[in-house]
Every structure is written in structure tokens, then in C-alpha cells.
Amino acid sequence: MKAPLSWLKEYVDIKLSPKELGEKLTEVGLGVEKIIQTSDDVIFELEITPNRPDCLSIIGVAREIAAIENIKVKPQGVIGRHPKGVIGKPTKSLPLTIKTDSKINPRFTGIIIDNIKVRESPKWLKERLENVGQRSINNIVDITNYVMLELGNPIHAFDYDKIVGSTMIVSQTKGGEKFESVDGVSYHLPKNAVVISDKEKIIDLCGIKGGKNSGTYEGTKTIFIRVPVEIPNLIRRTSQALGLRSDASSIFERGINAGGTLDALKRCVDLVLEIAGGDVASNIYDIKSQDFKPWKLKLRKERLNKILGIEIPVKKILAILEALNLSPVLKKDAIEATIPTYRNDLKIEEDLIEEVARIYGYNNFPKTMPIGEIPIQQIPYFKDCKLDEKIKNILKASGFSEIYTYSLTSEKDLVEAGINSQSTLRVDNPVSREFEYLRPTLKINLLKALNQNRANFERINLFELGKVYTGKHLDDATENYFLSGISNSKSFFEIKGVLEKLLEDLGIKDDVTKYVEILPKGIFFELNYSQILKKISARWRTNKIFNPLPKYPPVVEDLSIVAKNNTKTIDLIEEIKNQSSLIVDVSLLDQFEDSKTFHIIYQDKNKNLTGEEVKKIREVILKVLKEKFGAVLKE
């Protein structure tokens, strides 16, 4: 929203410098994005939030400034320059039939003006419009835009003579109807768009754009000025379906000042008569479903103080509400405010609380810390960050560096990774085809990361703990955390060792072999981290039990076994362990061709093991190994 200082000054006295004013406006919620100095003016570019469509007008901004400076908006700026604020009696009465439906068009205000001269706008009007980025078209169109910018009610001027049968019918489209806008663009209208038709054709796309066939051009002699109240949802849906927006539609989408149509109409008529000449040629049409009057809203002082956390004196509260033109009255149980029709955003008590707080000034509030019971009950969706931290630190200590990559990937990447895109979750409106599918693995990005780093690094070890998304279609969609990594410098067994250490520290027994994959460019591992989390007990940090140091020395021996080449080491180890509870550890010491040397530790907690006892166990071991695996002691 562009607001020139010179225009604002017509409505409110401004004593602050532009910079100070900008800061104050930002503080109360009208974010000043830029302050532009032109040769003779200062233009504020404001970010207006969706709840304040009333500030999409000069008068709206002026009201805010008045509230900040605690003064009143200048009266003459509101109603128009006409001395009595009324439109004179019509000189004649041109016919016009209006059929409207208040369910789709809550208010239809308008008037006919005859004998006008359509030509270039006067300099002051052109300049004002250009200052705020509006293109000058002709005096009539410019006036409608001017009043919209000034007062916040969009206005459209129809060429009266082009309204076939002098009949205007407001209705909703069925869908597919053709319409050419004043900009000369043709559309096929969507279903339920609110339109005005004459006896032949659609002449207006309500709330969005006028029709080319009924717009005001050089030859127009008589105009019908319409100031409507449109329904936000209807305008928004049509605007979105067509991808067509306008200043008017932006205002209607957010909620129009339903009580302001007559004032806007009067202002518009004044300017038309002044600039384009002509005579009023009808009574005022004002077809409405209700009277659109200000409404009352109660504010309880206790609730205000409770929500804000400070005691604001009643006098101050009243002063602020008064400055905001909310006509506060102190009643027994509460303050009663009267909300003008341009403040559609003030509907509940909390809305008033915000008004008081923001004008009081957020930075005038003390800062306190919450007082209350610190909640100890575990919240739903609880996540133990310490676990992630522990795992990441083990990987870091092992030489891996952490990466974060996108969840979205391309069909091309999926195909390259041998994944069927048909069974991958997909975004309907991706920002580009490069980011169309949700990754079911972290491998794609880790591989890319490995390749990317090869230009600058010899040894590359990377990991990611991130979400992957699986499911053939949405009903099966599951999100899981995967812990994956890639290395071009560690051996298969080193990677295995890292994973074994990781699981061991978490108290999980699992064979990690299945998680490791040897790729052409490096070794890759991937674990379903979410699954692992399920296996961990809640007390993983404290589930260790101290093993008292053995009182008696162990007996250690190395046993070299010759077994068939396809015998798995792990099977041999398991089998050896099974032979006696006095065997506390078996590990592979060495391997050469078909012989494996196992390092065996025998320990009895309660006494010294004798050579005889160990011999007996060893004999059993060798017997079983021979029976099960055909393995024999090496000569």
C-alpha cells in the first residue's frame, strides 16, 4: 500500500518526521517497507496485513496516524467537499432496473450521472494516482480509482447507454461463460462467479474487473456509478480460479466497509460533477440485505489486564479506544465500544485487547517470565534429542561429517537409483520437476554429496539423519527417520565396526551386515532409525549394570581352525560360545587362506580354572566344530 505524505496530511495533522512516523506506524502494525523521497513529497510503502483491509486506503492509514498521535481525523476529509454532505436532487430520472440477490451481493449502492465529458484527468488527479503507482486512464475511471484509494470502497462506472434494456441483473455464473475485461483480456468464467448482466450479456465481473463492453470511454455521456459490498469468499474463489486479481478484489477478499458505500458514492459524485461536469440523473439506489450499522463489543478490564499482564488504568484504555474512533463507554461490568463498519477485524474481546496493547506500545510492556508449575508430564510426540546427539557424536568421532539435504527429489534421480517413481509419493504442484517426489532413501543425496566433494577432498565420510517417505499412495504414507552414510576411505569392516559400536552403545543386539552396501564409488550404510528407536528402552541412558572385576584370572588361548571356505566366521564364533558358559569371549584374531585363529577367553567367577577343565571344554569345542562344520584343528 503506497501512501503519500501530502495526501495523508489532508486527513490528519502530522507532526512527526517521516522517519519517526515510519517507525511508529511499523510499531502499531503497519509495516513500513520503504520511505521514498520524491522531489516534493514523501511516499510510504506499507505492508498491510490481511486483517486490516481498511488500511488499504488513505483514510485508513490516516486514522491509524490519528490514533498514534492521539488526535482526530479532519472532518472534511471524510464526507466530501459538498457543503452539506448530501447529493442534490436529481435533475431528471433515467430508468434503470436492478435485480440483485443479497445472498451473493449484500449491498448495491449506485447513481446515474448524465451529460458528462470524458477526457483527460486534471493534473493534480493524475499526479496523485501516479504517485501511488496507478495508471491514469480517463477522468471518470481515475475518479473511481481515486475514491477507492482514498476511502477504501471500490467503485465502478458503467457506460449507462451500453446497458442493454437499462437492466442490471446480479447472478452467479454456471461456468464457461465468456467475458472480456476492460483490459481487453478474454476469460471463460468459472462456476459461481458473481456477475452483472444486462438483457443480453455479462457486463461486469463483480469485485474483480469491469467488462470492456460497458466501460467508460471517451464517447461516454452518461454513467452509472456502482459502489457494492461483495462477499469475500466468492470474490476470492473466482479470483483464484482465474488467476486474476485487482486492487478491488484484494479489498473485497479481506472484507469491505459495508457501511461506507454511501459516503464513497457521495465523494465520487462530487468529484465527477466537479471534474467531468454533468447532472445527477437518478435517486440514490441502495439495495441492501441489512442496515450495516456499527456494532457493540464489550471489553472487561480484568480480562485485558490478565491477558496483557499489566494493569492499564481505565482512563488510558478509554483514551486509546477513543483515539481509535471506537467510542468507548465505561459501563458497570465492562467498557462498551462501538465498532465502526470499516473495522471488520474487531469481532471478539481479544481483538480489542490487541488494539489497546498495540497503541499502548508493545515496547512499553515489561518483560516477565512465566510463573507456573513446570510441566513434567511427557508431551505427545515427545522426542529425546539426547539420543540423536549421542548417535551423531559417535559418527562425528568416527570421522563422519553431517549433511542436510532436500526431501524432494526428481524422477530422474529415482530412476538412476533404481526406484520406481510410481510407488513413490509425489507432489502435485512442485516448484520444478527437479523436486517432484519425496525421497524414500537418503542414498541419492549422499551419493551426490560424495561426488561433489571429490573435486576437493580425498577422504570423504558423510552422514545424514533425515526423514524418508514411503508408501505406494497417500493412504500408506509413512515418515521414518533414516540414518545413512557414505565413505570412500573406510573399509567395509570399519563401517561395520562403527555401526556395531553405535548399536552396542544403545544396548541393541543386531547384525549390522545387512545395513552396509558396497557401491562402486564408496561404502554406503542405511538404517531405519525410527525402527531402532522403537527397540531402545526408555531408560537407555541408565540400563547398564556394572560387572564386578573377576576375582580369578582368565585362561586365554588361541585356537586355529581350518574350515571350508564358505563357513561363516560368525557361525563358528556362535558355536564355540555355545559350548560352555565359562567361555566369556570369542573373537577372530587372524585369518589366512582357509584357516581362522580364534582368541578364546575362559573365565570362572568363582575359582581358578585348571588346565584340565579348559582342556575338556576345548575338546568339546573341537568335536562340535568337526561335526557341524567339518572343521579341524590346524596342524
Binding site: I353, I379, P380, Y381, L462, L474
Partner: protein
Amino acid sequence: MQIKNSAVSMIIDATDQKELEEIKLQFLGRNGKLTLAMKEMAKLPKEKRPEIGMLANDVKKIIEETIKNHELRIMNQESETRAAKIDVTNPGIKPNIGHLHPMTQVLYEVVDIFKRIGFQVADGPEIETDYYNFEILNIHKDHPARDVQQTLYLDTRGSKSNPGEIILRTHGSNMQGRIMETIKSPVRAIYPGKVFRYEQVDASHGFEFWQLEGLAVDKNLALTDLFGTMSYVVKEFFGSDTKVKFVSHNFPFTEPSAEAYMGCTVCKGKGCSFCKHSGWVEILGCGMIHPNILKAVGYDPQKVSGFAWGMGLSRMVTLKYQMDDLRLLTNPDLRILEQF
């Protein structure tokens, strides 16, 4: 005595271990001078033997001790010589430890800051329904606020859902409804996570980024508590001398709503391109939870109140480390990661 003297003088002159060994052998070995001398003792008259015996033992002790002391001296000399041969000013050999991503480091730090004031961490779905992402947060289907957060919709073909019903969450606030529905007041929760928008990628925007949102609900929470808590977090994270200010703003899910700004860390408030010459940088949005939401989750707005906020975690990382491009955080270049 003669033996002793000659032994000691030889020991003192010895320059290395080997020599000392030889001396030891020479005097104390099987055919050493002292040993032989002690054998001679047998030829001495009986009365003289004890005296000579003691003397011999003393001499032996002295020789042994002297050797020991000089061993030490020689060893020290040798290590000094060794040290002089290497350049100790050379840089050390650093262990091959990897690096945690700056986002992880920032996340842990912020989580810590919140844990200190009683907050727990939660984690929820990224694939979300329109209901939890918008509707329950007071953003009905035609709300203009939906334009501010352009949504990525998931392909619903083959599923029970209609197009547009299942989306990638546009903000972490989807957790608000999910958490509050399931637990009674008081609650203090923070929920960091990835969010998705329909946005073209540039230095300060992307379609995927991280947020850290949270909420607190209790019997007596007020706006001053919100300002206090936000201020505490910003100062703990960016430094105790960081300036913090609040401006009025609007979100559909809070009332009153605010945005917090902090003094620009790059120019210290003087004005620079980073802060668009204003001296301030926007850091988070927040507000008192809207009564409609409290009602929707089953709380009584007259009995409890709450506040909620959202901060861009990705943004906090780039602010803290003065990185000028969000894309650096998803770039797996080790030259970036190694710096953290």
C-alpha cells in the same frame, strides 16, 4: 680405595649407556676389579677381613649408585639431543574427527535454552492434513492468509483423500492442534522441523527450510510473559547485549500478535545491506494463542491462556554465522561443513 676412585672418575667421564655398562662389567663383573679384589680378601688375615669386607661393600654400593645417577644424567642428555633434532613448533597431527552440521549445533543450543525454562521437544509429521495445518489454526478455507504461505499439495491419486486435502506442512504450527488436543494444561513444548512452501529458491527463500515453533499454555500466561520468554531466548542465543524490540503484526492464530526484531549482528544497528539499512533484523513471529484455537482443542479460554511463536531455524543459523545464502545449509560441500 684406589678401585673406588678410578671407578668413579671413569663413570663421570662416561658419555653413554654402553660405556656405563662396560664400566660396570669392568668393576663389578665376574672378572671385575672389585670382584677380584674381594676374592683376594680371602688371603688376608682374619682380623682384617671384616673391616676390608665392609669397605669393599661400601665401594660396591658407591660404584652402583654413581652408575645409576649417571645413567639418569645420560638419559636426560639423550632426550634433549633427540628433542633438539625435531622441530616442536611444527603443527600437531589433528585427529580425524568429523563435523556436525551447523543447523544441528544451533538446534541443540536453542533446545538447551528452552529446556532450562521447562520446555520439552516434540516431533511430528511433515505430511499433513489441511485440517491441522490450517483449519484448526483459525485459517479457514478461503482465508487470505493462505496466500502468504503457498502450499505444496500431495498427489492423492489412488488414495481415499481428495486433491488438496493432504499437503506438506507449510509451518511447524501443525503441531499446535496435535499437541494441545492430546494433553491438558499446563504445556510447554517446542517442535523444530522441516517445513515446505511453494517458493522459488534464492538466497533467502526456499521450498524446504527448518523452523522452530513452540507454545506454552497455563492458567495465567500473559503478553508480558511472551515478550519476556522471546527476549530471553534471543539474548541467550545471540548474546546478552542483543537489542530486542516487538512490533504489532497479525497472524490468524494469535491475538494479540507480534513480531520480534533484534539489533543487526552484522552492523551492530548502524544500518547495512544485511538489515536493509534499518539496523534491525526480523527474528520471529509470536502472539497469544487465539481463543478459537483454545476452544477447538478443548481448553477453556476463560481458564487458561497461552502463547505461541515461530522462528526460522535456518535463518537463525545464517544470522549467527553471518552466512549470506540459505542454500549453504543444504550444500554438502565439506569446505562449508569443516568450518563448524
